[in-house]
């Protein structure tokens, strides 16, 4: 495993923190506008890529 897995672990945590912030801004109804929906989908995709990289690194 290289340090890339550690880097991607933090990248995923930071991306999820951005998601947490969106929840804070939209509570309690969570009615997302189009920009928020776009950001959420981008975060989910980023986290998914991070996890894939971590998985690859671990199973090397």
């Amino acid at each position: 495993m290289t340090e890339k897995a550690v880097e991607q672990t933090f990248a995923a945590l930071f991306a999820l923190t951005d998601l947490r912030q969106i929840f804070r801004e939209t509570k309690p109804a969570y009615e997302f506008d189009s920009e928020q929906k776009r950001r959420i989908m981008q975060i989910i995709e980023n986290v998914r890529l991070c996890l894939e990289t971590i998985e690859k690194e671990i199973t090397k």
């Binding site: 945590l13 930071f14 923190t17 947490r20 912030q21 804070r24």
Partner: protein, 393 residues
């Protein structure tokens, strides 16, 4: 909800609820600060690159030294130190200036930690009475100084006044009070626990000798954290370095500052403050928008029959004391849950942070809520009022 471990629940109050707690709003973290907590949570995390002269405010990586310089500029002061809470700022200044039996002028709405700081130094607090509008004026301050002088034969050693107090969120005339302090040549400490980090504050423009701020109240930072800033004139006194040597080892710790007890706010709390700083610099520019929101809320709140706002109106600060004795408290008299009915109703609408069970006088704060959330809050109160037959104009 997940738990961190058996008895420690995950705190999701800010993600699930509108939190109107009067003292928590300005300390809510920015996402950058939350990331700082993730990465810098280990104990001495800020000390990886600590080199000579071995003091927190001199560390260059991460750029803690630059942060101190930029924070001083932001506040219009010459020097600044980060501290574990505003109370440590009061303590450092009072310890430096006040001796046994000296008088210190404070507001009649002063925070208890100002009292404790004075008591610890052996001083005596002398409170400036409020006007009928519950504010501290320059005139009343000058009158109190004269009374102290007459009573004790000496001028007070320090004047500490909150710009906005924690009880009512009322504004006190700090600029004119600072002028009175200058006229009497008494140092003036500006208590900015509820201002520094949420609204523009410039110590030079105010005429303050010391500024004290709270990271966890108003600077989007974790507790404890705070700020003590001063001028060149006072820096050598308050930030004086140790002069003592051990009698056996003759050890000296030359650069360590006595009142700071050496390094102050180490680790994640400081890095979180630094991480929030860009957002804080930006958000103070939008203080007027926050004031529009609280005044909108106050107007809507007052549409409910029997409701009163106990703080000064129109609102100049988001921390606000209200009175619902004539409305929700009447319902509480006969409700099986008594006063808890109100917090139950609020919680059901995903609103928390009011004093649980209180239906007479209570405080709230709308700082940092979006317009949608402020409108939701006002509507929720209308809905609760209507549900219990209280008229909403």
């Amino acid at each position: 909800m997940k738990r961190i471990m058996d008895e420690i629940e995950v705190r999701v109050r800010e993600e699930l609820f509108i939190n109107i707690n009067p003292i928590q709003s300005g300390g809510r973290l920015t996402p950058e600060a939350m990331k700082a907590l993730i990465a810098y949570g280990d104990g001495y995390s800020t000390c990886d690159w600590c080199k000579k002269p071995f003091r927190l405010d001199k560390i260059q990586r991460p750029p803690i030294d630059d942060f101190h310089a930029e924070l001083a500029r932001f506040l219009g002061m010459d020097q600044v130190r980060v501290i574990p809470g505003a109370r440590r700022g009061f303590q450092a200044v009072v310890n430096s200036l006040v001796e046994q039996g000296d008088s210190v002028i404070v507001s009649s709405l002063a925070h208890y930690t100002e009292f404790l700081a004075v008591e610890a130094a052996g001083g005596l607090v002398k409170e400036v009475p409020l006007t009928t509008n519950n504010v501290v004026t320059a005139e009343n301050t000058a009158q109190k100084i004269e009374e102290v002088k007459k009573e004790t034969g000496a001028l007070p050693k320090l004047i500490m006044i909150d710009h906005y107090d924690y009880m009512l969120g009322n504004e006190h005339d700090v600029c004119q009070i600072a002028k009175v302090a200058r006229d009497y040549e008494i140092p003036f400490l500006y208590n900015g626990a509820y201002t520094i980090g949420v609204m523009p504050v410039n110590g030079k423009e105010i005429g303050a000798d010391f500024l004290v701020g709270s990271g966890h109240k108003s600077f989007a930072s974790p507790a404890p954290s705070g700020i003590l800033a001063t001028t060149k004139m006072w820096a050598d006194k308050v930030f004086r370095t140790t002069q003592m040597a051990g009698d056996v080892t003759e050890r000296r710790f030359g650069i360590k500052e006595v009142e700071m007890l050496g390094c102050t706010l180490m680790g994640a709390n400081l890095i979180a403050m630094m991480a929030s700083f860009p957002a804080v610099q930006e958000r103070v520019k939008h203080w007027n928008e926050e004031i529009k929101k609280i005044n909108y809320f106050a107007e809507e709140f007052l549409r409910i029959d029997g409701n009163k706002v106990l703080s000064e109106m129109p609102r100049k600060h988001c921390l606000t004391k209200v009175d619902t004795t004539g409305s929700f408290n009447k319902i509480a008299q006969t409700h099986k849950r008594r006063g808890f009915f109100f917090s139950d109703e609020l919680k059901a609408k995903r609103i928390v942070g009011g004093f649980v069970g209180a239906t007479r006088a209570w405080k709230l704060n709308t700082y940092g809520l979006t317009w949608d959330q402020v409108k939701y809050l006002a509507q929720a109160l209308h809905d609760i009022a209507r549900k219990y037959g209280i008229n909403v104009a």
